[in-house]
Symmetry: C2
Subunit: 413 residues, 2 copies
């Protein structure tokens, strides 16, 4: 992590991927992020993947570096604790991030604003109209599963969902961006605001930014599935002699020249170009010739092991990469190890010692510090009530006895 946002204070009431990712992203940039949860854990506290002992591997990943408050917000005293935290004074406080349907009631902007006029509240919704939607139900609506997977060639294809929760990931970082934009605005104007973002809009906007909506509107033909081919340029996957797979790309003219040179196939490619009447220095023509280009490349790859291919391409301008399963990535890729400053090994209580990434954003004016593990549920309850809200030990004891606050709690399946 980098302390580039040191001092900034965010309270989050969140669950699942996008909204917790927002807080975690800001925490890894040095912000003080307090997540509050029910005293038995939030709706996502036990989410898969889990360890053999039944502890979530998912939750600690998305809540690194946060402080945790376990509080029963079904009771007025619990609500008051959270409200006081959200509305805490100070130029760098007064920021609340949530994906709860907080349009009315004690967590709504209108109510919270009565406690701090310049509050910044960022609310993630599912759909723009406030109805629920998840990554999966948004993704199916935005076209990509219809063009993912085996080539359709005009036939009807069964949709293929991505496994990466891409819209959640994009939304999480976008929420963090909106926090900083609103905080900058408040710093300059004195005005807080409610920022609303819907997961569906995140997806529809990106589909439009990437040109897919315009293509659907202006071009008569529907985009088809092209398997692992790269649309509009050249890219394809190949099996190696040792039954691994690689992906080879040539989106620029230079990458294309380098590929011909490194594989010794430049003349073969020239022959293909002549035969098809295409200029393979042009990316669109390379796309049209994908099948023809892939034939000799497939033979070339099948005669070489992954290690040999790596050695051949190293130091050249060929753009390629090996396919790796999650375990292969961990075993073989130095970028996914402590050899990469991005990663540290951390001990997560109850879960184990493992490789943890910090922020991928590297700020040169600051020193990279190792990522901070996720809190136990309610690990900071006492500290938050005492240090942040100024409660006495007696008061905290009373709240604990009344079951309004708790922690630390070991959440097991």
């Amino acid at each position: 992590m980098f302390s580039v946002l040191k001092g900034l204070r965010i309270v989050e009431g969140t669950a699942f991927v996008a909204a917790p990712l927002c807080g975690m992203t800001l925490a890894q940039l040095g912000a003080d992020v307090i997540r509050f949860d029910p005293i038995r854990g939030g709706i996502d506290a036990r989410r898969w993947p889990i360890t053999n002992e039944g502890r979530s591997l998912y939750w600690p990943g998305l809540n690194k570096g946060k402080r945790s408050l376990a509080v029963d917000t079904s009771r007025p005293e619990g609500q008051e604790i959270v409200t006081s935290l959200i509305a805490s004074p100070g130029e760098e406080a007064g920021i609340f991030v949530t994906n709860f349907p907080a349009t009315k009631g004690w967590l709504s902007y209108d109510v919270l604003k009565t406690r701090r006029e310049d509050l910044i509240m960022v609310n993630l919704l599912g759909n723009p109209d406030g109805t629920s939607a998840l990554d999966y139900t948004v993704n199916c609506a935005v076209g990509f599963p219809m063009v993912t997977g085996a080539q359709s060639r005009g036939g009807e294809a069964k949709p293929v969902n991505h496994v990466l929760p891409a819209w959640d990931a994009i939304a999480g970082v976008s929420l963090a961006l909106s926090v900083l934009a609103a905080e900058r605005y408040r710093r300059l104007s004195g005005r807080g605001q409610l920022v609303k973002v819907s997961l569906a809009d995140i997806a529809f906007a990106m589909v439009g930014h990437l040109g897919y909506i315009q293509e659907a509107q202006l071009n008569s033909e529907e985009r088809e599935a092209h398997g692992n081919y790269l649309f509009g340029a050249y890219g394809c996957d190949f099996e190696t002699k040792d039954r691994r797979r690689v992906y080879i790309v040539a989106i620029t003219a230079r990458m294309w020249r380098e590929l011909g040179k490194a594989t010794g196939l430049a003349e073969t490619f020239a022959g293909i170009a002549a035969e098809l009447g295409l200029d393979l220095g042009d990316e669109g023509d390379r796309f049209k010739a994908s099948d023809a280009i892939s034939l000799p490349l497939a033979l070339w790859c099948a005669e070489r092991t992954l290690a040999q291919i790596k050695q051949t391409f190293e130091g050249t301008g060929v753009c390629w990469g090996p396919y790796q399963s999650f375990k292969q990535m961990l075993r073989e890729d130095p970028r996914c190890s402590t050899a990469n400053p991005l990663f540290s090994e951390l001990e997560q209580p109850g879960v184990g010692r493992y490789l943890v990434p910090g922020s991928p954003l590297s700020f040169g004016a600051l020193t990279r510090e190792p990522p901070v593990r996720a809190p136990m549920l309610g690990e900071h309850t006492d500290e938050i009530l005492g240090r942040d809200l100024g409660m006495s030990d007696g008061e905290i004891g009373r709240l604990r006895d009344a079951g309004i606050v708790a922690g630390p709690v070991d959440v097991v399946q």
Copy 2:
């Protein structure tokens, strides 16, 4: 767009997806973003998808709301123009975003810094060591293609690439976040800095944040492909009577109850739970029972049209969505139309009139303004040289005559 970042001034030297998306994201939040390109267009100026007339639909999507300067930076005078722009004085200027390999030479941080000590430069790399990598060659390395597509059930699966350039999209928003974080830091400390981000780190970090690295490290079994099933909870796709498809999800206990209620299958589900000895109120148990749950749901969907399913689920707590191709999305989904304030119809010169998304981040203190179309290449050359750099008409004319600047240019395939 929203003018939440009004006043902020960014110069970008970029190409392809991630880095232009950063500038576009900031432009749609009101920042003044100047993109400079070679006078015949950058390496991505003609990128597919293209219109029937050969104009890129891709480029205008990722460069909306920017100002464009066409300049020959292979010549010292061109370099001096860009350097002057990057190093322009003012608290809100002096920010440079690039994905060029700018580690040495005139565009490097060390050289630019001599012209403005508190410069902020954000440099996107492919790999952490500076070697090139693209979305496709990063994606194959981070595990997801191995678990995307048809269920592997222990067998060897052919990898399936996503079509959404997800890592580029995440990187683009992350770059924008890093700009605001660094600008906040400079505002408070007076210090600029070089921010380095690699596309590979963006991907490896996200894979780790989402728990996949930890799962690979701590659990003995490799994650398998589960087709369109949602890992760790319940989600599946179904065909409807009218041969459309829907995705139905139950990640929370409430969604699960609502699904049983809305479909009338609650008793069937209870029977499955009893037979398998599972508690289907638990998300992990629902995942284990995915096949059994899907059978009656498949029959239920096959007996109903998409419209009937929509009607049945409307107003309930069932979380679902229709699969839509890009054209179906445009034709059928009101969220992807001007009924959604996210979208406006814009005329892009030479390309046509089409639906354009603004920022999905909605700032309550500001009024949403329609998105601004992308510039023609070099559309703002004269304005930038004159108004921003204070050059005389004579000087600009001389630079034009010498072929050092140009525009506006209509870029056609």
